[in-house]
């Protein structure tokens, strides 16, 4: 055997062993954590835990990207059974658990948490679960069932932001395209940002009047300075910035009603003429 073949075989064996090792290693990790979750869920997965507010659906939890982390990664104060809190031999209250769990997102998602701390949402008392849902059912944003999947973002924001904002978005091409699964059109976060979202009035908001042209340009290429004049979320109504839309709609609607009525009546008299002439010639 030539040295080259020997070298190649050695390399291939090395890669094979490494791959197997990684697979075995990850399998081992997950089985350990899954084992822990199984242990917790043997009680917390029972339907009668629902009334205590400490029920976790085992089937749902198994689908979340967090399933591999087990339970104690977030619920770190609970180390065994019976559960203790602050050294006391007493079950942890759900309030304590929630507080502890909310702060534990940041132990992995530190960047997201850092921006979130500067946001208007944080200031108003929202937390991760407000948008991402219960951590025991949370799904990766790429999952079509996730609350933060592109197509679901308008509905997620719409839980709080009702009225003209969501109405006008639904009617806009952005909204229609996102609903149909566009990978390009803007969802709420494309213009407003996500974790670090600030109030519209804040000077550093991407949707503050001065920043609107630049924000539009991030997709549309050119920053039209006059895009700053006016409002984005406008529905067709005889009021404020809705007026130009309202009168445009009225103009074209009446143009259509008058034109089509006249044209159809024209068709009718042409057809009527044929019947009349036929009768006449038959006599």
């Amino acid at each position: 055997m030539s040295t080259r073949v020997v070298r190649l075989l050695t390399l291939m064996t090395f890669i094979a062993v490494l791959t197997l090792g990684v697979i075995a290693g990850s399998a081992a990790t997950s089985s350990v954590s899954a084992g822990e979750a199984d242990e917790c869920l043997s009680c917390h997965g029972q339907a009668d835990f629902k009334s205590m507010g400490v029920y976790v659906d085992p089937a749902q939890f198994a689908k979340t990207p967090h399933a591999d982390l087990g339970c104690s990664s977030c619920h770190s104060s609970i180390t065994g059974y019976p559960h203790t809190t602050e050294g006391k031999e007493a079950p942890a209250t759900t309030a304590v658990l929630k507080e502890e769990a909310a702060s534990s997102c940041s132990s992995c998602h530190s960047d997201a948490n850092q921006s979130f701390q500067t946001s208007i949402h944080s200031e108003m008392g929202l937390d991760c679960t407000s948008c991402h849902g219960d951590v025991h059912t949370v799904l990766a944003s790429a999952d079509p069932k996730s609350t933060t999947y592109r197509q679901n973002i308008p509905a997620t924001c719409g839980q709080c932001h009702e009225g003209e904002v969501t109405e006008s978005y639904k009617e806009s091409y952005h909204g229609i395209a996102v609903k149909f699964g566009s990978s390009k059109a803007a969802d709420c976060t494309s213009c407003h940002g996500s974790h670090g979202i600030v109030a519209v009035q804040a000077p550093n908001s991407p949707v503050a009047a001065n920043n609107v042209p630049k924000t539009c340009a991030s997709c549309h290429g050119t920053a039209g300075a006059k895009l700053a004049i006016g409002k984005e979320h406008v529905t067709i109504k005889n009021e404020g910035w809705g007026r130009p839309l309202y009168y445009t709609s009225k103009f074209f609607t009446w143009l259509t009603i008058i034109t089509m009525t006249v044209l159809i009546l024209w068709i009718e008299i042409e057809l009527f003429h044929r019947l009349r002439v036929r009768k006449k010639s038959a006599q």
Binding site: A177, P213, T256, T259, R278
Partner: protein, 313 residues
């Protein structure tokens, strides 16, 4: 179907024109020269290859624009999602819409360029320009169709209907292309106009598109497809030719000019010889006519039911 007899039967319009010419002391219409036995029927070349290509470019791209635009306008309807899926998703659908829109705009640019070249070559024609006679023709037509007069309006190269269609497309193209470009390039548009103009352009695009689709499907399709004389289709869009009978009936003044023109050419129309296109056999069927009257009344009712609330709200 390809009978010569139709071309030889004298049209009432032409007969009447002759009578009027006689009364006024003007020369009467010369009959069309008899065709040689070996040649086909006498036909009138009304649309040249440029006209027909412009029309083909416009109608094919118009259909694609309508097909890809409607699911955006009626995005809440169940069929909209199905159509979007069939056409490869919304991002693909928009690309198809934009490509078709460019073809549509280029077809219109082709037409305008054709007009410019024709003018430079001295083939000027003002036949499409609306005149006072067109206003009169509208009222004459109503009176004639209702039986208040026996004299139909006599049309030249373009009837009032055709002028209406032509200028409606002209108006429509400005609205659609202008508003479409503003939505396609909002950043550039935003350097010149405030955003309420761009926002209104979406309303204008959507509403004018609906008017155009309705006008084509209801009105233009009646004129060229469902009119009992043309059912199922008037082949002039393809061949560019009209029969002698059609020429006398629909463009008697043009026919008259042509008859007295020694060259056999007048204002873009040329007398040629060829084979008559298939002719509708339903123009004498009163059942067909009555059925159409009912259908168009239903269309009017459905249309008003859908649009009046939007106009009145």
């Amino acid at each position: 179907m390809f009978s010569k007899a139709q071309a030889q039967s004298p049209a009432p319009a032409a007969r009447q024109l002759n009578r009027e010419a006689q009364e006024a002391g003007r020369p009467q219409l010369a009959p069309a020269p008899a065709s040689s036995p070996r040649a086909g029927t006498t036909l009138y070349q009304r649309f040249n290859i440029h006209h027909r290509l412009q029309h083909a470019g416009i109608f094919s791209s118009f259909a694609v624009c309508a097909l890809t635009g409607l699911p955006i306008k009626y995005s809440d309807a169940a069929w909209a999602g199905t159509l979007v899926r069939w056409l490869g998703g919304i991002d693909t659908l928009l690309v198809i819409h934009l490509v078709a829109a460019v073809v549509l705009a280029l077809s219109c640019v082709y037409h305008v360029a054709y007009l410019v070249v024709a003018f430079l070559q001295g083939q000027r024609s003002w036949a499409m320009v609306p005149t006072l006679k067109d206003v009169k023709d509208v009222f004459d037509n109503i009176r004639y169709r209702l039986g208040l007069t026996d004299r139909p309006p006599y049309y030249g190269r373009y009837s009032v209907k055709e002028k209406f269609d032509y200028w409606a497309v002209f108006w429509g193209m400005f609205i659609m292309a202008g508003s479409g470009l503003m939505m396609w390039f909002p950043g550039i548009a935003g350097q010149f106009v405030p955003r309420w103009v761009i926002d209104s352009s979406r309303v204008a695009h959507s509403d004018e598109a609906m008017l155009a689709i309705l006008a084509i499907v209801v009105w233009h399709f009646f004129n060229v497809h469902f009119n009992p004389s043309n059912f199922p289709v008037n082949w002039a869009f393809f061949t560019g030719k009209l029969s002698e009978e059609e020429m006398k009936r629909e463009h008697p003044l043009e026919w008259q000019r042509l008859a007295s023109a020694p060259s056999g050419k007048a204002a873009g129309t040329a007398r040629v010889e060829g084979v008559l296109a298939p002719h509708s056999r339903l123009d004498r069927s009163w059942v067909f006519v009555a059925a159409e009257m009912v259908v168009y009344l239903v269309v009017l009712w459905l249309f008003l039911k859908a649009f009046l609330p939007i106009g009145l709200e």
